[in-house]
Every structure is written in structure tokens, then in C-alpha cells.
Amino acid sequence: MLTAAFWFFATLMIAFGVSVVLLRNPISCAMCLVMSFIALAALFITLDATFIGIIQILVYAGAVMVLFLFIIMLLDLRTEESRRLNVGATVGGVLVVSGFITFLVKVVTSDPSFAQKLPPLANPQIPDVKLIGMTLFHTFWLPFEVIGALLLVATVGVIVLSKKSLR
């Protein structure tokens, strides 16, 4: 059951990710990215990280992608006209990506500890969010405050950037 879910959602995630790179219309790219993020959230849930999975759907597939679609609408972007393929970038891209995948497979197959099966949780019924909240507000309270300040700075920065004339 878990294995089937893993292969289904992993294939879905990679397939929609590839179509983000291949499709020409930016709207289709954004919608494929939404589907890819939802499949990724399902993978998080197969790893018993329900909170992260829900946050992934709410923040990424919801808020961030709506922002992307909004900007595509605002700039009125059309389907990209096909230009001459940049040979250098294509060859470089294929080389870097295939080199990365080769080394990744090499590293992952080198050590037997990567082949371990899913270890059982001590108490699978525990509320995930409660433990995350405890860790967040006990151990990581300072980074949490800093991230709040960062969000405020980002909001102010966006407002300054979108003013018509920058002084």
C-alpha cells in the first residue's frame, strides 16, 4: 500500500515537474507546478509528516502559486515564441544534470544504510502538530522570532518595490 502510494506520487511529481520545464505557456507551467507540489505533499504524508504536507499544500500550492498566476495575469504573458535553441546552455544543462544524477545514484547505492526499510514509529497515533509545536516554541523560539521579522521586512520591501517611482 505504502509502496504503491510512493511510486504513484513520485512518478506524478517527476512527470509534472518535467512538464513545467517543457511546456511553453506560463499558465500551464504554473498549473503543472501546483500538481507537482500536491504530489510532493502526498509524499510527505507517506513519510508521516502530516503537518508539513498540509503546510506544503496551503503555502506552496495555495498562496505561492496564486501569486505566480497573479503576476502572469498582471504582466499578460503569452506563450513564449520559440527562439533558436541556445546550444551552449542546452549542452551545459544536460551535462550538469546527468552528472548530478550519476553522482547521486553512486552515493545512494554506495552505503547499505541508505537501503533501510521504513522503521516503525513508537506511537503512530501521536499528534504530529503538538510535537512540532513543542520543538518550535521550546528549542527554536529565537529562529521563529527572526523569521517573523524577516516576513515583515519582506512585506515592507515588496511595498517599496511596487511603488511607481523609486526614490
Binding site: 510532493l40 513519510l47 508521516d48 506552496y60 513564449e80 548530478f100 547521486l104 520543538t135 519582506a154
Partner: protein, 105 residues
């Protein structure tokens, strides 16, 4: 049962697809989407390590907190980045990276 290697390979493939998108695409918006994909791929490997490296039978929640922070920073980054793209479009009327060659030597 899927192994840790399965999840790491899935995460690495998603990262590679995002990297390919950044290198091959010419539209600045799609490049930005591919960047988001790479950030999420890193999140998947973090969550996989958190689930496979149990501490007293519980997941390692430090990794999930890091994922939470990454998602927050990514949201802030998207807001600022898209605002920069909008002001770039106002100034140059293009989102095509090959038309933005002022800094090119």
C-alpha cells in the same frame, strides 16, 4: 516498503528537473518556478531523513522545523522576487532573460 534511497533518488530527480529548468528556460517566471521546485526537492530529502532517523521511536522533528523555516523563507522570497520581476517588466517591457543583457561583457 520504500527505502530511504528511493526517497533520496525521487528528491534528487526533482532537484535535477528544477536545475534543468533554470539552465534551459528563457522566461524569468518559469526560471523562478524551477527554483521553487529545487527548494521543495531539498525539503523532501529533509523529511525523508527525519522519518528514517528516528529518535526514541519519534521522528527527528528538528528536520521538520527546518522544512517549516525553508517554506516560510521561500514564501518571502517569492513575494520579493515577483515584485522585482514586476518592476523589471515596467522598466524594460520584457521577461525574457536574453533581452536583459546590460551587464553582459
Amino acid at each position: 516498503m520504500p527505502t530511504l534511497a528511493n526517497y533520496l533518488i525521487a528528491s534528487g530527480l526533482l532537484f535535477a528537473v528544477g536545475l534543468g529548468g533554470v539552465m534551459l528556460r528563457r522566461s524569468i517566471i518559469v526560471i523562478f518556478m524551477s527554483l521553487e521546485m529545487m527548494l521543495s526537492a531539498a525539503n523532501l530529502s529533509l523529511v525523508a531523513f527525519s522519518r528514517y532517523g528516528l529518535i526514541n521511536g519519534h521522528q527527528n522533528y528538528d528536520a521538520q522545523i527546518l522544512v517549516f523555516f525553508i517554506i516560510t523563507v521561500a514564501a518571502a522570497e517569492v513575494a520579493v522576487g515577483l515584485a522585482i520581476i514586476v518592476s523589471l517588466y515596467r522598466a524594460r517591457q520584457t521577461t525574457h532573460v536574453e533581452d536583459l543583457d546590460t551587464l553582459k561583457f
